[in-house]
Amino acid sequence: MYSFLLALLAAAAFAADNTRVDYGRDVRPILSENCFHCHGQDAKKRMAGLRLDTYEGATAQREGRAALRPGRPKESGIVRRITEPKPALRMPPAHSNRTLTAEQIATLQRWIAEGGRYSKHWAFTPPTRPGIPTTATPGWTRTPVDSFVLARLNAEGLRPSPAAPAAAWLRRVSLDLTGLPPSPERLAGFAADLNTRGEAAYGAAVDKLLESTAYGERMAMDWLDVARYADTHGFNNDAARSMWRWRDWVIDSFNANMPYDRFLTEQLAGDLLPEPALEQRIATGYGRNHVINSEGGIIDEEYRVEYVADRVRTLGMSWLGLSLECSRCHDHKYDPITQKDHYRFYAFFNNVPEIGEDGRVANAVPMIPAPSNEHRRRMEELEASVARLDRAIEARAQRWSGDASRVPSAPKTADGPAVRIGCETDAGFEKAPGVDGHACVLAADAKPETAAVAVAKRGGLTLAAWVRPGPDDRDAALLSAMDFARNRAATTYGNGIEWRLTGGEMEFRFGQRFPAYSTRVRSEGAGLAAGEWHHAVLRYEGEAGANRGHASWVRMFVDGREVAARTLNDGFPLPDAKGDKPAQTKFRAGWDNGPGAPRFTGRLDEVEAWERALSPAEIRAMFESRAIPFARSSGEGRSWLRDAAMRASDPAYAEARGQRDKLHAELLALRRSIPTVMVMQEMSPPRETRVLNRGAYDAPGEKVEPGVPEELLGAWPEGAPRNRLGLAKWLVKPDHPLTARVVVNRFWQQLFGQGLVRTSENFGVQGESPSHPELLDWLAREFVDSGWDVKGLIKGIVLSATYRQDSSVTPALVARDPGNRLLARGPRFRLPAEIIRDQALAASGLLDAKVGGPSVFPYQPAGMYKGIVVAADYPGTSYVESTGGDLYRRGLYTFWKRTAPHPAMTVFDAPDREFCVVRRSSTNTPLQALTLMNDPVFVEASRKLAERAIREGGSTPESRLARAFLLAAGREPDAVESRVLREAFDKQHAAFLADAKRALALLSTGASPRDESIPAAELAAYAVVANMILNLDEVVTKG
């Protein structure tokens, strides 16, 4: 009965302004909901050959009749069938569980009587700049936004609410733009500024908020939901991943007010920009935030397809406001998006060199090292110092005129290699001139192997060889003990250890299901060029007791000096350390058993394997012990001789050299420590994309090329490449019908609690119509014409009279417009999960305002993962509480484990981030009450708020309680409230005085020390009242 009443009220509110029936507003929703399922664009599901979603289809003559005869409802099949008395013939049929109301039938009849005209769905037509309405009571308006709102209110016979008190506006706008409450000082400063400058104070206050780094954090929160950011991979194993560098990119971009078209482009296709900067590549993490499955036994392709489909879904939700996944299995039932359209979008995202089963212990491929700015600064310093020393060394060497033949012999190591192929007698090789006697050249069809080497995954290993690649050695094994197998899903993977030469670099691979679950490290600048002899060394030093392998265990040396290396995959799983016996491993020399594996065609000499990690000095000695005699006898490698001789005879040179090697080692160590981030990357050639029948990975159909539904949503930009970059260009075309509307609508939603289009995830025909279509279009046009200026857009909205309205409401207005769709009052809704936390921390003074960095582990009830997470010791499967400031970081930095998110987040409606979410629900539950009452962070914040109030709030209980109230609610309590607070304090104080132990117990919650200068019973009583304040509806609500 209530909902019926409500429907009537809503209908009255929304249909009153126009007498004529409007197809888009009034008719299509009825047809779409009730008819298009069987009479829409999906030809496979179409019944009786009748199509009602186009004028041509509806008016087509079928056996001398037509479903639609414009102007003649009685002769139209539609009307006949929906008013059919016999239930068996009536439309929609009973089995559809749909029925038309009398009102809907009347609307359809009127529509046909008025001509039965169709129109293109509003959202598929580019927004044009509407004229700003003139209203009878213009005095209220401050910005064009207000004119649109007021015109609508006038039409509805409503008046706007008076402006909220200035302090209430400041609290509202502070929470909206920074997620933090205004401090008492800020409130007082604003009041003073208002006195002196009047209206200008509002704009200045907004500017101050927009300049704060907290602004970027607040803006990032909503985007993290959309872009499904999390700190774990999801699915069964749900191991940790590292995407925080991407998250920080989002924060930084909002803070720098990056134009939104760039914000979009860099996330979608930063890697495809000309000479992309590191930050632009990090931005593409947007495309890799999806869940990744590492469950043993899954079929790779099945999940790889899911990842691509997820990118399409997220694209649709992020910027098109369309549910593109509906067309994954069949043509969209409602929106004119065909299955083929879906796979043309899909083709843009189908070229990532990724693997279905990945991410068990770390990031999944492809990934890049992503140094922070701090890292980068230090790296640049070191690089500059190394370069400077290199130049000095080179200059000194050029001037040197000593005798290169006077070189001391290198010291010998105490032990010898476990295995050595000297290339004098070994079978399977042909002989050629080597570094020391003969070199090995792989004989045709030969499959030589080394003797067994004991390889311990947590132990040490050094592989060394003199290498002279042939001209065709682009990619070949040097030493391989990796066994490749091909499974039934036609996926090839390797198990074992391998040392390769690839494009002049060396590469180390170690893993279980290579390329998944493996560590893979490649040198950078090794310079192992064809036709040149070089000494290459791979050094591996495992760590006893480690639960997974690390790329940082691997170091690479060329000609006695360490070279830079980068991690391609990291963290292969290690078996239980208890059974950690070294495996007797024979290496294939110069070949491997991978599919279609090329063989090494150049020369090898003095191939050695050591069952320990040699020190850099030992590696240098090993090099020189052969390099120097070889250089003397062959004439190759003059610089090696000179270097050795100068180090022995020129102390200044030796010192510079030593200094250079030290700084270089530091640089490489720093590089090894930097985090990685998963990014988008293009394969060359791209994968072929086919329509997948029913969306199934194993049912490929027609081949498709990347493209967009141009007829529906606008032409492909001229000259744009057919890749993600072109797609981004298409999306930010000034006349794109959806992008700007969808984006401004979401910002509106952030400020008003709901979008102008309430279904912010769906602008399609099944979505809700905008409450203020002209306002939406005006904002979209302004946004684009301003150069996609986000701060400008937001500033314009929060300074409007609409936003400034008081949010209180009368019963009559609630009844008239329960959801505040007409905007006759200010926005009012419960704060998001993160901000509830941030506000309590800020009010109490506990907040650690550090921006960015790895996610943190605030208090969480013990054992939340118990009974849920996988038993294996993968990263992210145990929750180890942070210490120090990291306990008090903002909510958006809380470690986001997808299968077990923090309970204080989920209880306040935060999603688990497995998928893109553009609109959170907002519930009101007893579990929320329990969280605010008892979560240790709120108990601790209550204590710190109490201490702060005592410190700052004068000497009487009233003044101190007022201070606490002001810190949390942004205003002073009135007399009645003051009395309630005082009475509550007195009761609690008496209770704690009666039992001092309990006061101490309460004050012991939380890691921060208590202020011992305050008597315990008194502080405890203040803390309980402070907790009451943090629980106030007014405090958890933005009003």
């Binding site: 079929i299 499974n487 009101n924 609690q988 609500t1037």
Partner: protein, 472 residues
């Protein structure tokens, strides 16, 4: 309607009883857009459900599905005609052959119904005449995550609401002091299982998040943050909440937002839960004969037995949907060592729950379900011996039982083929099971829908058929 000022009420109690006068409006405000059509659609057979979910994939061939025809075919290949287009997991994809491994456990007939059941589950066998055994369950999924997600949400991919959330959404709770959808995770008696569970299995998906399952855990706080902080008494909390209500009331006078009324009521519910939940979770005052029925491990919180007993206590308090999880059934290798332990862990308490409900007259309107996300392969994984083998995941056919709540007792539905590989007759797909569970609760599964992203979603997607043959 007229809601008065706090100051006008003479006592807190009167204020609180009157405070609900605003609640009708509040409910109207926050629920109007999402209230489903009225349910139940017809007279329900079950008022509540206890789902004993056996995560990991219990072997139907070693527990429920007697296959005499393969008893003497050890190590022979599964005929290609039977194997068909089976999708095999990556774990056995490299095996060159798929040798049959008959169950090493003895099967016997039990009860008047003469049900064949394995010697591993003697207590379940003893209630053979109470249970309705489905031996023709099937699913497309071949790995845990998609299979569990399908069973619990109707889709292999994450993002949809769980069964319990749908039921909560459709029917709501019957006890205003407890959530309608409660989740219990069990720790097996013999250490940690290997498969993870996912909170999304009790997530509300796109339904309003208040419909998500509330996990009751072991320890001092069955619900997160239930207990007052150390040093704070219940009386102090009462005083604090009285002050809070007064201030919220004041705020309501000022702002008029009906949500404030709801919030006041939710704090009262929270306060009541602080008393009712620990009382309910404390099974120590259950008489000895009850603990004897469920097994002595029912005295140890967090065990499967303790959770079965707790489930009965929740059912007594009219919690609508009680989702219990037991993990550890994933026996790729060493099945013959691990399966008996898992069966021991669950057999007695599962049967005890059915008997206990029956003794209390609650079985007729309480539906108990026992089963996993799939079964296990008739062929062995890795090296096989007659007395020592492992089995891979198998979704083409598996078994599941139900009891009470409107299903036929002592009944058997469907059958697998001679190999226990494919459905031979009357297949029951996961969506059919879901449709049937909803039907027993009086819900037409095609009518329990929620509009999201422009589409009406339902638990059974566009599938599902009520298995009328098993309805009592």
């Amino acid at each position: 309607m007229e809601c008065g000022n706090y100051s006008r009420f003479s006592s807190r109690r009167e204020f609180l009883s009157r405070a609900t006068c605003g609640l009708g409006l509040a409910a109207l405000h926050s629920l109007a857009a999402e209230t489903p059509r009225s349910f139940p659609n017809f007279a329900p057979r079950a008022k509540r459900v206890i789902y004993l979910f056996q995560s990991g994939g219990p072997s139907h061939l070693d527990l429920f599905d007697h296959k005499p025809a393969i008893e003497d075919r050890f190590d022979q290949d599964i005929p290609a005609s039977v194997f068909g287009g089976q999708r095999v997991t990556g774990m056995v994809a490299h095996q060159d052959r798929f040798p049959i491994v008959p169950s090493m456990y003895e099967f016997r007939r039990h009860g008047q119904s003469g049900r064949w059941l394995s010697s591993l589950i003697p207590r379940t066998a003893a209630i053979a005449d109470e249970i309705c055994l489905i031996r023709s369950m099937h699913t497309e999924a071949i790995n845990h995550d998609p299979a569990i997600t399908l069973l619990q949400t109707g889709s292999q991919l994450p993002g949809r609401p769980s069964l319990g959330s749908w039921i909560d959404y459709g029917l709501g709770g019957a006890n205003s002091n407890l959530p309608a959808f409660v989740v219990l995770n069990s720790l097996p008696a013999n250490g940690m299982p290997d498969q993870g569970l996912l909170s999304r299995l009790w997530s509300a998906g796109f339904l309003p998040s208040r419909h998500q399952g509330v996990q009751f855990r072991t320890g001092a706080d069955p619900v997160p943050y239930l207990s007052n902080p150390p040093g704070m008494t219940r009386e102090q909390r009462r005083d604090q909440l009285d002050g809070l209500a007064a201030l919220n009331r004041r705020q309501h006078e000022r702002a008029g937002d009906p949500e404030i009324e709801t919030r006041i009521a939710q704090y009262e519910m929270a306060f009541r839960m602080q008393a009712s939940v620990p009382e309910l979770a404390d099974t120590s005052n259950e008489p000895d004969h009850v603990h004897a029925l469920y097994g002595e491990e029912s005295r140890r919180a967090g065990t499967f037995a303790a959770n079965c007993l707790l489930a009965r206590r929740l059912a007594e308090r009219d919690v609508r949907f009680i989702q219990l999880y037991h993990r550890g059934w994933d026996h790729h290798g060493g099945l013959t060592e691990k399966l008996p332990a898992l069966a021991r862990d669950t057999d007695r308490a599962s049967a005890a729950l059915v008997l206990d409900l029956k003794q209390r007259g609650m079985l007729e309107d309480t539906l108990v379900i026992w089963g996993g996300e799939f079964g296990r392969t008739p062929y062995g994984q890795g090296a096989v011996k007659p007395q020592s083998y492992g089995r891979d995941h198998h979704g083409r056919v598996f078994s599941l039982w139900m009891a009470g709540g409107g299903v036929k007792p002592g009944h058997e539905h469907g059958a697998s083929d001679d190999f226990g590989f494919n459905v031979a007759e009357n297949g029951v797909h996961v969506h059919d099971l879901q449709a049937t569970i909803l039907h027993l609760l009086g819900i037409d599964h095609e009518r329990l829908t929620f509009k999201f992203q422009g589409r009406q979603f339902r638990l059974t997607d566009v599938h599902g058929r009520v298995v009328r043959e098993i309805l009592a």
